[in-house]
Amino acid sequence: MADSVTNLEELKKLAPPAELRRAPVVEGNPSLGALTDKLSEFAEGKTPRWWWILFLPAAFAATVIFPTCLFYQVFTGVGVWGNNHPVMWGLDIVNFIWWVGVAHAGTLISALLFLTRQHWRTTIGRMAEAMTVFSVMMAGLYPAIHVGRAWFDWFMFPVPNSNGLWPQFKSPLMWDVFAVNTYLMVSTLFWYMGLIPDLALMRDRSKTRVRKFLYGLFALGWTGSARHWHNYEKAYVILCGLCTLLVFTVSSIVGLDFCTAQLAGWHATIFPLYFVIGAVFCGFGMVLVILIPLRKWCGLEKIITMSHMDKIAKLTLVSGLIIAYIYLMEFFIAWYSGDPYEKWVFGHRLFGHTYWVLGWMLIGINVCVTQLLWFKKIRSNLAALFVIGLLINVGMWCERFVIVVGSLYQDFLPANWGKYMPTIWDIGLYIGTLGAFFMLYLLFVKFLPMIAIAEVKGVTPHGDPHHPLGGAQKGDRQ
């Protein structure tokens, strides 16, 4: 032990000056045991009041409003929504894209940042993945009921049926079926695999028989053997790589749904990229909205540090800048193409009837408000970040509305023009999905380790065998 202390002194002498040092992943340099206690505290402790205050309305929306709107729509028909000729894609598709978008940042944070060895991702990865899993569930629901006769959904899968018909695989709408289902499946597997070691920890810590049994069941007999970790890490890297591919694939395919149509405003090659970046941007907004209150209420300020929030804000800014560039390109190409229909649609996004408000909100929030993140003062102000995150979600929702409805309501023939207004059932279903999402999220926070405990321990100095605090001896390579 004496060796390791002198080692620590030497290491301090070699360390770079304070301003060049990286912020530690976890503040306060806790020991492994203290860190474990801290991180599993919330899932084991007494349910706080704020949890109930959030959970009850969310559960009401999820179990009363949601099924009511769903059953009324399924039993009556798509007509209960505001969708009607010529706007056949309304809030259902707007919300579908919005939910897929929310999912994307989760995968980006946990998978892409893992591949680029960003240690800070360990503290927020699990929460971001949970966000992905639950929002893909909500997203997948919309197209499934939008088809009108939801009981025929199985026609979309290549299952032999009495009509002798098969799906038409040349359509991007068909690709969507595969993409969204794969996304749900893969992100759930990824999330669950990450949970296994932490479920084993919860099993070993649990005091009651029921908890021990349930955590033990889902931990699948994990012991933490080096051989197991060896295979586990390999599988984890592979899953990260595949999830990163999914980030770029799923929203691209959603973008293809639009750009293969001939409609002015949709028929643009930029769409796949546009949707991917839009999705990531929107998802970062949601990450800010979820993380900021949770880190405060669950007492995780030293784990999800201000340095992490700063990094998320910077990533939000980067994706926001790409979005601003794409908006600019869209308008430029509409003008440069010389196509009167394109010009008409884009002119009417900002100076048209009815929906011009949303057009300006999209510019005002996604382009202008995002620029506030250039300032360190804003990035270190949690209230400001929370509001910006919330606004980004609203702004991206407006963007999807403008894209979907804005192109459909005034197409090539003036005789064919119409209006679209969401009905109470549209709005009710959206509230219902929001409720279901937050209900699932709160249950996750309460019953599962919301931070990847094993991963966080592995990136602290105490968990590093080549650091004096991790027990490295004199002469070890550090």
């Binding site: 492994l32 045991g33 474990t36 290549p158 002798g164 018909l165 098969w166 038409q168 695989f169 040349k170 068909m174 690709w175 595969f178 794969t182 893969v186 597997l189 990824f190 070691p197 084993a200 920890l201 099993r203 070993d204 810590r205 699948l220 007999g221 994990w222 012991t223 933490g224 053997s225 080096a226 051989r227 197991h228 970790w229 060896h230 295979n231 586990y232 890490e233 390999k234 599988a235 592979i238 899953l239 595949l242 999830c243 591919l245 999914l246 694939t249 395919i253 094993a454 321990k457 592995g458 105490h462 968990g463 590093d464 065998p465 080549h466 650091h467 991790g470 027990g471 490295a472 001896q473």
Partner: protein, 179 residues
Amino acid sequence: MSEKLYGLMAEFNSPGEVLHAAEKVRAAGYRRWDVFTPFPIHGIDKVMGYKNSLVGLFSLAMAAGAFLSVVVLIWFTNAFDYPLIVGGKPMFSVPMTFVPAYIMLIMGGAIGALVGMFALNQLPRLHHPLLNKARFALATRDKFFIVIGAEDKKFSVTETRQLLEAIGGAHVDIVEDKD
């Protein structure tokens, strides 16, 4: 209820200690032993002498299988069983199958990685002799364990215990396998 000797376990306090101890166990010539840690330790693979994990092969096989089966499925459904003309395009061409096949490649690869991990680790298992030990509950928290199996040719309760104590292991204890 027969009780069989499973092995000897020793406890260490830090990843650095267990890494050095593992080097010594390997140097002593033991073959059937393992290290149990709350998180993966950098460098332990080398000490334990693990080669590249085979999980990648499972993933590759499943991914390739999924990709090819979707190509065949699309040919069968849209060109063979019920030929379908869409937009005057050929009934079947390889590029048109790419997107669904690629998506299913990702699905196959992911399932393959998970299945491979479970298969190679022989999980899920409902019980493990080590889980009977009260102190072993700390293996997911902040302690690091080396377990030398009784099946090892060099294993002897006294000598192995001496080795584990010499390399700094605390709470050296016998693990029994209860049937």
